[in-house]
Symmetry: C2
Subunit: 267 residues, 2 copies
Amino acid sequence: MSERRSGEGQPDKTLALLWRNHRQPAADELVDRAARKRGAGRRPSLNVDDVVRTGIQLADDQGLAAASMGGLAKELGVGTMTLYTYVPSKDELLDLMVDQVLGERELPGPGEARPEDWRDQVEIYSEQTRAMFQRHLWLSQVSTIRPPVGPGMLAGREYLLSALLGLGLGALETNTAALAVTTYVDSAASLEAESRLVERATGQTNDAWWYERNDLWETYFDVDRHPAMTAIWHADGYQSSTREAAADSYRYGLDRLLDGIQSMKPQ
Amino acid sequence: MSERRSGEGQPDKTLALLWRNHRQPAADELVDRAARKRGAGRRPSLNVDDVVRTGIQLADDQGLAAASMGGLAKELGVGTMTLYTYVPSKDELLDLMVDQVLGERELPGPGEARPEDWRDQVEIYSEQTRAMFQRHLWLSQVSTIRPPVGPGMLAGREYLLSALLGLGLGALETNTAALAVTTYVDSAASLEAESRLVERATGQTNDAWWYERNDLWETYFDVDRHPAMTAIWHADGYQSSTREAAADSYRYGLDRLLDGIQSMKPQ
DNA sequence: CGAATTCTCGTAGGGTATACGAGAATTAAT
DNA sequence: ATTAATTCTCGTATACCCTACGAGAATTCG
């Protein structure tokens, strides 16, 4: 995890930005400056989407740290402070970046074609979410405790709930189950991404990292204190590749979790 | 998620520090400076444990950011650079802090009394891990992709594997299942801790945060695009308290995951 | 008493987000 | 054609972070 992301000043402003491209007619309030009837004043040289898009690209290509306000401004060819005309703060920009990529997942909307089996539907959520994390490794460094309440996040929750509703559990249990599934899927996908990120940042595979610590087994590992690990070792229970072990355990855990949920189905 | 933690220079040095209090007789190498036969030279005014303990305390009380090298030095009444006599870098200090608190979990060792049922044994792992995260909220901000390979981490893995071995699955499946369980338990516990951390840092409960965004439902939420959410809402499927919803989903998910694993038992 | 050893820590450098306020560009009104 | 109103632009300054380097202080051994 990460550190910041918290003290947003005006929720109204933030919501307006998040939903800027899904304009509900609503209200007499002016939602986006770009939409305002243009009157006096200097013309803007950018718009919010430019900033968000560039932020995502920079974070994808060079890591989240490269998507600093200074770095972004340089990339866009403007002064750092100019960005604050378009987004109120770095935190809110991050919210916008996150909701944007959450919305990129291709999840069938209401009324659109989808597999019959609820498990296959959950599978789509799982695969799309994993793919999203792989495309945008920096997501693993962003806290999701207070997620951007935008169209992308809502579409994800909607889809997963709709999939689980197919099981016929009660409303409350369906919601609880959906939370458990997102916790597992999102966390595992995040760990997977973080793993690649670390490999990229250090130029060292995780396997190589473990290999470097071989001393552990010879010098410090005490067989008597670790009989279970020793037993599994001798029974060839450890896979050679860290990556494969992680992928297998992800699959296995998701399948077992869904097994368990399925077994709660009335009848 | 967090940013750093990576390029440790010498794995040997790091391992020696991590295992400094579990001295294997081993080797002719001098493991800890404090253990060296004292000869000439100025006397140290601190030791590694002092630094680690103070780091944990500071992070507990005032957040991980307060456990900066500067902050720590001030707390200990020494110059910042003095700390580098005891730990090679901030990253390694963090490793030491993490392994220390991992080791605080009260998990029965080999030969010690434990519940009969394997599920009750996993329960202990789950509860001790959650309690650890609650005591040390900053853990949720530390990456565990390349964990400190010290006594605390190994004890945790050993215990969970020993619990799952009771099921009678094969070695490989036991290991895979253990990875899935730690992924779920550690991630959920981390999210729970992160949630409290954010509440503390912002002085605003998560419920209050959601309440502040009530506009969403009136202004932007489109019922036609979100039929599942709408249905669950009308069936009272949403709990009023974010915290309780999270706790319930944690319980539910863990129980279902263990159900699913249990069902793989041969026979 | 000198030499060897070890711990102590000031300085300097390159990074971060953003409050403030002056200046530039554009249009509407006179 | 001015002038006023409006809006965007962005330099500067502040207060943090980690740690390489190297000089100085403390201690013991010969």
